[in-house]
Symmetry: C2
Subunit: 196 residues, 2 copies
């Protein structure tokens, strides 16, 4: 197992996420990895396969924070704020944005990659939150009639306008204060709507 394979994966990730699938060339990736083009083909077979490999690897790596179990012992405000903070931190991450852009851009050519992305990230986040919301509803802490719809709504609020601007590369990076204000506002709105 040579270290060249890892070097190729690393270089391919950088080049694909920076330039996108179409504009990235196997030659550029080979140079960035410090190997010849043929070595890239020996390891990964084709451009499509290499793109698939780096997207899947990146999905697993980046989306891991939202998969970890939550401390359901605390009060709903603390739990929701924690979930929200981790989620916003994730989608604000420059690598996440680049990955998301690449997956969206090539979703027509690689539908199975788009689905893998969705399942390994957003779908799990919604499922986890919906389960938690059902739990607090049964416990009587909040009133959540439709946990899945409410969970989707919550993450929608958090993505909101910010995610859109970041995807489009518009304006300055939001400060930590802005992000906190946005998270707090979303949590407050959500709690106010589901107060028992």
């Amino acid at each position: 197992m040579s270290g060249k394979r890892a070097a190729i994966l690393d270089a391919a990730t950088r080049v694909f996420l920076e330039y996108g699938y179409g504009a990235a060339s196997m030659g550029t990736i080979a140079v960035a990895a410090g190997v010849s083009k043929q070595t890239v083909y020996s390891h990964f077979g084709s451009k499509d396969a290499l793109f698939g490999a780096i997207v899947r690897e990146r999905c697993d790596r980046l989306l891991q924070p939202i998969r970890i179990a939550d401390d359901h012992g605390k009060n709903p405000t603390a739990v929701l704020t924690g979930i929200a903070s981790r989620f916003v931190t994730l989608i604000m991450n420059p690598e996440s944005r680049a990955l998301f852009r690449a997956v969206v851009a090539e979703s027509a050519r690689f539908p199975e990659l788009a689905e893998a992305f969705y399942r390994s990230g957003p779908a799990l986040a919604v499922d986890n939150l919906a389960a938690y919301l059902g739990e607090v509803d049964a416990r009587g802490a909040l009133k959540v009639a439709k946990p899945v719809l409410s969970a989707r709504l919550f993450f929608g609020m958090l993505r909101g306008d910010l995610h859109l601007r970041l995807l489009l590369g518009i304006g300055p990076e939001p400060s930590a204060r802005e992000i906190d204000a946005m998270v707090d506002h979303a949590v407050e709105t959500f709690l106010a709507a589901h107060r028992r």
Copy 2:
């Protein structure tokens, strides 16, 4: 003024939005328009310029529904539901999705297009809703302390998980009933949170 210019614009729109900027070729566009490649270059100069022309034209055309003035006479529930319905109908439109995908995918190469898209659509929608929310707050019908944040939250709720799935091309087209249920749930949640 020949009809060929319109034919080129039309063909370019279809080809660019279907294949994306990189995968679309000037030759394909010329064939689709029924003219020679040189005629395309005579009219639009370069691939970049042609892409910019069709994106700007499409932004103006597609995003017009959310620019029209709202009937602020009715009760907040009706007004918000109307705004929400028009917004969701817009972002669900296949052409809007294709345009959005193309703009996001090329936002690094064409930042001014991304900004034009944002300004002519999402920014206006937020501004209009924020103005309305400030109005109903002053009138006492709702309690909206931060109109701009609340407006962003509202549109975020509406985009939500649905927009994400559609962008990624995942799953079946949602039915009108699902969309209505989502809109109603978002409006109810928003109103419950801002009840005076």
